[in-house]
Symmetry: C3
Subunit: 271 residues, 3 copies
């Protein structure tokens, strides 16, 4: 009922020495742990983005994997640290909403507040609970420690809702919830949520940005438009994504993470 896979998600920045230190701590407790980086490139302090990415990705990991998530701007303050056992996984992290959408989707079996100092590093810092508390707790869990040993039960986790797009008249206000390294702009518009059935090639997105209006076809693949041309598609997260074939949409459209986007869907004939 446990596994040696520990999956890391942080906003420390890829290759941060803080990640290295956490790995050292884990392997000191469980030398057989297999530590996988989900990503460390979450935008600094962006709990909403992290909760989105976690929810979109956790099902790709082996059952019983332990997810260790540290996006924790309130480290050292009164916020709780929690361990949550769901139907298929274990999650540890700060109780700031980050875990909420995911553990609810996978169904919570038990949540505890991480309080038993037996499982902490001996000299815990004020500013790096990821290394000093969460990493050792995840390591002990990966060795089969019963979650109940870590601390008392918690009935209610801090809630967080990944924002939904808002429709007023025919204008959809959505968010650039994540921008990947290609500059692809991932929005919070889920497949099937706005338009019941979108037929490829027949619908354009009109994107209003920087006082311009861009007419962007909805396609299945990046290469359905010419090189350097914009497109929209439902991506591997099953969300609407604005991209540029072999280009960088975020640069092209001057859009940053967390930006509000205004879209309009427009049915048209292929020309």
């Amino acid at each position: 009922m446990y596994s040696h896979f520990i999956v890391l998600l942080t906003d420390f920045g890829e290759g941060s020495i803080y990640v290295g230190e956490m790995k050292g701590v884990i392997l000191g407790i469980n030398p057989d742990a297999n530590i996988i980086n989900l990503t460390h490139n979450v935008k600094s302090y962006d709990i909403v983005q992290a909760s989105f990415l976690l929810k979109k990705s956790y099902t790709y990991f082996p059952r019983n994997s332990i997810f260790l998530s540290v996006i924790d701007p309130e480290v050292g303050s009164g916020r709780l640290l929690v361990a949550v056992k769901t139907r298929n996984y274990i999650f540890v992290g700060p109780d700031n909403g980050l875990l909420y959408p995911t553990v609810n989707e996978d169904k919570i079996e038990i949540s505890v507040s991480i309080e038993n100092k037996t499982y902490f590093l001996s000299n815990s810092s004020w500013t790096f609970h990821g290394r000093d508390i969460l990493a050792p707790v995840a390591a002990y869990l990966s060795k089969g420690l019963a979650i109940e040993k870590i601390g008392p039960r918690v009935e209610h986790l801090q809630s967080l809702e990944i924002p939904n797009p808002i429709i007023r008249k025919d204008i959809i206000s959505c968010k650039a919830i994540f921008i990947d390294n290609f500059g692809n702009i991932v929005t919070n518009i889920k497949r099937g949520s706005i338009v019941k059935e979108i037929t490829s090639g027949l619908i354009l997105v009109e994107l209003f940005s920087n006082n311009r209006c861009y007419q962007i076809p909805i396609t299945n693949t990046y290469s359905d438009v010419g090189e350097g041309k914009p497109l929209a598609l439902f991506n591997s997260f099953d969300c609407l994504e604005i991209a540029v074939n072999r280009g960088n949409a975020a640069g092209y459209l001057k859009i940053k993470e967390k930006s509000e986007l205004r879209l309009k869907l427009k049915e048209t004939k292929k020309t």
Copy 2:
């Protein structure tokens, strides 16, 4: 005749969550896979750079390693996905030329088109075949699946030639095929290809860039010139590299990846 080493090469950007998802998929199929990042920093969509880096690096990995390469701007279109068994390794990736120089060098034993859906994730996306098709196929191969099971034989792979420098009169036109994190500019001039024997210290490269001419000595090591001074050497890829001792040559010379460089070799006496 197979190994549990799976080596990843992509243009997803280091620390991309897409890489994390691929690792989750692989470990779900083969929990004993040992996944190694070759690099994820290939310039976006740059198949030539990726094919160069793969060819320069693959021999450093254990025999029978499985290379999973995803530089795939045409994902979801008609291009094939292939698995290629060579004398010493297995390579999987899109059939867009990326694998061509390497598998030819190592000698192809069998190539197949990846078509058997038994080995795909059940809900394959249009836009992320790396996660949904190539990762699971690599994982099954790492467990010993016979390559013939994956799909029908392919006789001809998409070809790609890593460009060679061109010499007109005494001017060498070459390419900045890769620039590393130090700003070292790696060219496509192979050791021994242009000048049969280059004697350290006796030859200068004249580099024409931005309407300036730089006289740069050919040395063995970075510290053969003063701090902040440019130099050229045959590097660990056995290619001519322009560098600055303890500096950043790409910044200093204002040269970007894929730029054309014009050089002239000039024999001289040490002064």
Copy 3:
């Protein structure tokens, strides 16, 4: 007395293909090696920063881990490569001071100059001893090779002192020895070194930067001040750090790595 953990520290940049090649070489020699990235984001050529980060981090790793550190601007020149066995660990790297503060702290048992070509790659380059010499040597050590086999004893390692802050009158001159991905500015002021006892909330740091004077409270946590406000705290390295709550201090204060900072401590009442 040895372990299969090999911890990498370089200035190659995260995700560098050079790191990938080193891992390939290690696993070719010891397929059971467990390779952990401490960080590859050391500022290029910054031996002082690397020695600081290594000293602050090594104790978090399992006993007998082998640290393979490559910040080596003089590669190929006359500098030695060394392997050092300390009380609890083994360190390999160039003899340029990088290892000095750490191996002295952990107490040197034996140091050798890496010279026995039996343990090198067969065609060693001039410019990448990390891959061609240090990686294979670390791999053989991780399989239990006696350190004495690698080369002759070295009595004196190249020394390096991590600079201490300097106090003149009541002005403290310190260094931005490391800036993390959040923009937190880590200084070389150790806890307890300047002020014997710093009581949270009662002391301000006055930071002189860009002809401005910033009054910054010393706190325990980042969230002890309002969002976007600067603060100073003793961080997880036990050093004074200048930060901005949910912000980027280096950007806010326009401070770069290696910058000199001038501070003054000022006792005050909470207002």
